[in-house]
């Protein structure tokens, strides 16, 4: 810092307060060839935090496959980008905002949305859709209700106001998250391919321009304190982290201004300011471009008086971007920003050549107050190979399988308890803006028209889904995550989409616990293998560690966002609903194939039934056959895709959900079988269609509730043709029953299993969440 202040050397404990270990300090001294001063130490503190450096997870993440024909930008940039055809690229990214949301749910979730949007428009893409994956404890408790209300209102107020529709997400209630809720947000954007920009600086003498909000003391140390420290369980003795307040209006203007700058070709590189603020944005852009940067903190517009240089450099004030522009372009940049009422200030210059090469130099009114190699902050963070160990009881837990040991119960009552209608959540989200939402929340995946202001005309569609299943991943992280990917692909197929790319958010407990590292490693391997099996690249991700309360880690919770493409979108896909008179057909194998006797034909381990109805979390998960799954989902995607791509003709004016097929339609409705098994899938389709069904010959409660993958329910007016086409595609198909009437009746081989009126089903479904949340 400025002369007269103690150097870091004189305050030996400082590095520890900043979250740096003694070894890390030694490494810094080695890199610099001297002791760092306070400012420099603060820079390393934030940049080498788990949150920014991925130091515990990096060596594992390298095992994920990232290459693919369509990939334009893979992991490492702000968002992954694929080529969607017709000159349009699609950018996508997912991120967690777990810890801030736990203490200020509204602002925590809101700023999470703001951050993920910036990651996407940084790439030159207009954000077109948001999704949110939410995990809470059971909503019957006032604190959980406060969290749910706050998080949902935060996503709603920020997303709606900034003008990006939230088109889907997930909602999980499990006691494991009571002390540590998870809030993951995904954003998808699109851009004309030629507008693609990367977050890198270049060109000696170019200007570093800070756009957006003034800088305050928001989230200073927040990165390390919020993201790298677990909760003690007692909010009272928390070192009070400063939570940021989001400003969607500023972000809206920032989006418009940045896209206008990019359209006009006025910037050389651009980068959002997220965790670690200017420290991160300046060092990353410089390091990626292989240049240096000279920043003067006195030129940074402040919201508060008396901020020290290290505060300015590490502040996480929201709604800011760093653009690199040529001096010649600066007047034009200023003009664009003035129109959008966005503050723009030159805060530094790009340096290259001589001893400046690769150096990040921080000045205060001209005086150098810190200088480090930019790459040492951004790229040279330590990489840890933390000890890993499978849980000692693994064998015993796998053997503790509910499939064989839990007796059947009242299937109707259990089914009712498993129904959950998330519309309480998504009714609060604008999910229609841009007029692209062909299938919105309530569908297996969101299907969007690939259109937006400034994009080339196209008939293509893009589909996206987020999926997770902590109950599977807790029982077996490696197979669990593969099953999650399979489910996501099935969800995409149900709206006619072929998967194209994966992003992931790995929410785990404390990486200093060897079991957690084992879970992480198994998850990465499981995901890597599954992605290879389905030939999908991972184009981005995020890791959130230290999700624990009083020493108890959350179950491993990988959340996958999977992007799919649809050739032509001219009609809405068949809804996840039954319609009176159609046959109910199960596509995919009804039971575990092969190895007779060795594996139960309808495994229940890891199912919602086992976990939620019986409190049993262990056992052997159902197996996944990637080839069979690929055959099934390709078949479903082609059937639905056919319907979606059909010319509309005179059909304009049809009501919602009717835009498919002719009189005796091949596909009236379609829905994958996932959480809660066949029972829940049937009930959801019945409620959505407002019609009952009669299904016979089900092999007991196990077939009703198993979450055996690779199964899709179809409602069809032409069952023979559907089954014949399935057979030709190598996909098993079987008519289970008929839709119609006022009851959902499921009969087993010997006796009845479920007999519920539509009123009972609707009540269980619609009332479930709203009633519990509004109970206050």
């Amino acid at each position: 810092m400025s002369a007269g202040r103690p150097s870091a050397e004189e305050r030996p404990a400082l590095h520890r307060a900043l979250g740096l270990s003694d070894d890390e300090l030694a490494r810094i001294v080695e890199l610099l060839g001297r002791q760092p001063n306070e400012l420099e130490l603060a820079l390393y503190g934030v940049m080498w935090s788990e949150h920014c450096s991925y130091k515990s997870s990096r060596r594992h993440l390298r095992r994920l496959p990232t290459a693919g024909e369509r990939v334009l930008v893979g992991p490492g940039e702000n968002a992954g980008v694929i080529d969607a055809g017709d000159g349009i690229a699609v950018a996508i990214r997912i991120e967690s905002h777990n810890h801030p949301s736990a203490i200020e749910p509204h602002q925590g979730a809101a700023t999470g949305v703001g951050g993920i949007l910036r990651d996407v428009f940084t790439m030159g893409a207009r954000p077109l859709a948001v999704m949110d994956s939410l995990f809470f404890g059971p909503p019957d408790d006032p604190r959980q209700r406060w969290l749910v209300e706050g998080v949902v209102s935060g996503v709603s107020s920020y997303g709606n106001s900034v003008g990006v529709p939230t088109v889907g997400g997930e909602l999980t209630f499990d006691p494991c998250y009571a002390g540590n809720p998870l809030v993951n947000v995904l954003c998808l954007g699109a851009l004309p391919v030629e507008r693609l920009v990367l977050g890198r600086a270049s060109g000696s003498g170019n200007l570093a321009v800070l756009l957006g909000s003034a800088t305050g003391r928001d989230g200073i140390g927040g990165v390390s304190v919020l993201a790298s420290a677990g909760f003690s369980g007692d909010a009272g003795d928390l070192k009070r982290p400063s939570v940021q307040v989001g400003d969607p209006f500023e972000e809206k203007r920032l989006i418009e201004a940045c896209l206008a700058l990019l359209d006009a070709g006025l910037v050389v590189g651009i980068q959002d300011l997220g965790g670690a603020g200017l420290a991160c944005a300046t060092s990353e852009t410089a390091a990626r471009g292989g240049v240096g940067m000279d920043v003067d903190v006195s030129t940074v517009p402040r919201r508060e008086p008396g901020m020290a240089p290290w505060e300015v450099m590490t502040s996480e004030s929201q709604e800011r971007m760093l653009a690199i522009v040529t001096p010649e372009a600066w007047p034009a940049v200023e003009a664009v920003c003035r129109r959008w009422e966005v503050r723009a200030s030159v805060i530094g210059t790009v340096t290259d050549g001589g001893e400046a090469t690769g150096r990040l130099r921080v000045r205060d009114r001209g005086t150098v107050v810190g200088e480090v190699p930019a790459a040492s902050l951004a790229l040279d963070a330590p990489v840890y190979d933390r000890p890993m160990r499978a849980p000692s009881e693994l064998e015993r837990l796998r053997a503790d399988d509910p499939t064989t040991t839990e007796p059947p119960g009242d299937c109707g009552a259990e089914l009712r308890s498993l129904l959950l209608d998330p519309s309480w959540v998504y009714r609060q989200y604008d999910h229609q803006l841009f007029l692209n939402t062909v299938a919105g929340p309530g569908s297996d995946a969101a299907l969007l028209r690939l259109a937006g202001p400034g994009l080339p005309a196209s008939e293509r569609g893009v589909a996206v889904t987020t999926d997770s299943a902590p109950r599977w991943c807790a029982a077996d992280p490696r197979l669990g995550v593969a099953l999650v990917l399979a489910e996501a692909i099935a969800n995409l197929a149900c709206v006619g989409a072929t998967p194209a790319a994966v992003v992931n958010c790995l929410n785990f407990g404390n990486p200093e616990h060897p079991e957690v590292m084992w879970q992480l490693s198994e998850t990465v391997d499981g995901l890597a293998d599954a992605c290879r099996a389905f030939d999908l690249p991972v184009i981005g991700g995020n890791v959130s560690l230290y999700n624990e309360t009083t020493g108890a880690d959350i179950p491993p919770t990988p959340v996958l966002g999977v992007l799919g493409l649809v050739e032509r979108v001219r009609r809405r896909p068949p809804p996840p609903a039954l319609s009176a008179g159609s046959s109910v057909v199960l596509l995919g194998a009804r039971r575990v194939q092969g190895v007779a006797g060795a594996v139960p034909s309808h495994p229940l381990a890891g199912s919602r039934w086992a976990v939620e109805c019986r409190g049993r979390r262990h056992g052997d998960l159902p197996p996944l056959d990637p080839d069979a799954h690929a055959r099934l989902t390709r078949f479903v995607a082609s059937l639905v895709g056919e319907a979606v791509g059909q010319a509309v003709g005179e059909a304009v004016g049809q009501a919602v959900g009717e835009a498919v097929g002719g009189g005796d339609r091949l596909l009236d409705g379609v829905h994958d079988v996932s959480g809660g098994g066949l029972a829940v899938a049937l009930a959801e389709m019945a409620v959505a269609g407002g019609v009952g069904a009669e299904v016979r010959g089900i092999d007991g409660h196990a077939e009703l509730f198993t979450e055996l993958p690779s199964r899709v329910l179809a409602a069809t007016g032409r069952p023979d043709e559907l089954c014949a086409r399935a057979a030709a595609a190598g996909v098993p198909a079987e008519v289970l029953g008929t839709a119609g009437g006022e009851r959902l009746v499921v009969a087993g081989l010997a006796s009845g299993l479920v007999d519920l009126s539509m009123a009972e089903l609707s009540e269980a479904m619609e009332g479930s969440l709203a009633k519990r949340l509004d109970a206050a």
Partner: protein
């Protein structure tokens, strides 16, 4: 000749592109008008679209009504020009005093984005001219502050003069008298909370909004001819 419609954009407005698309579907030539513009010559009608002008900070519409364009909008309306406010645009029109009453937070205190059914209650407005009263339309709402309130005298006036143009079949927000849209005494200024532009394509769920927009565009051309 097709109607020339100006779509007014405040910082924070976000439905302007959707509104332009829907207007084009009914044959209008729509273009964006920035909130600092004060020249509205050459337009046959104006639309204040949905969104969050100035972030909806303070109150929806409270800051936007002071934008330079609003003086011109008021003059345009006073001259009989058709002015339509959709959602946030409706809020701006009430704040600016071009329509009576106010829009307050929804009864449920939550944002609501959902399809709703509305009934045309009067054909004495630019938006409903030629549409049989009683006609039901499916048009989505998308708002946090959409609950219409006004004093009893204003309400009586609105009712008696056929200025309640749309009513909700099932009230989603607690609006007095199920009011979804109202008109000025002359019928040329209309505000409504539902989003007709979001019901302009079967692909996104409904085409019923086109009926309203077509009526407006037809009225605009007629005004110009007169």
């Amino acid at each position: 000749m097709s109607a020339r419609v100006g779509v007014v954009v405040f910082p924070g407005t976000n439905c302007e592109h959707d509104t332009v698309l829907a207007l084009e579907r009914v044959g209008a030539a729509a273009s964006l008008v920035w909130h600092t513009d004060e020249r509205l010559e050459g337009f046959d009608a104006l639309v204040l679209p949905g969104g969050f002008a100035h972030g909806d900070y303070l109150r929806p519409g409270a800051i936007a009504r002071f934008s330079p364009v609003m003086g011109a909008v008021a003059r345009f309306a006073a001259g009989g020009g058709p002015v339509l406010g959709i959602c946030n645009g409706f809020q701006v029109l009430t704040e600016a005093g071009l329509l009576p009453g106010a829009l307050v937070k929804n009864r449920g205190l939550r944002f609501v984005c959902a399809p709703t059914r509305v009934r045309v209650d009067s054909d004495r407005s630019l938006l409903t001219a030629g549409i049989e009263p009683g006609t039901e339309l499916q048009i989505p709402v998308n708002h946090f502050s959409g609950s219409y309130v006004c004093d009893p005298r204003t309400l009586a006036e609105l009712r008696d003069a056929g200025r309640v143009v749309l009513r909700y079949v099932e009230n989603p927000n607690g609006s007095v008298d199920d009011i979804a849209g109202i008109a000025s005494p002359e019928g040329n200024v209309v505000g409504l909370m539902p989003h007709p532009e979001r019901a302009s394509d079967a692909l996104v769920g409904s085409v019923d909004g086109l009926l309203l927009l077509r009526a407006m565009v037809t009225a605009a051309v007629a005004v110009r001819a007169a």
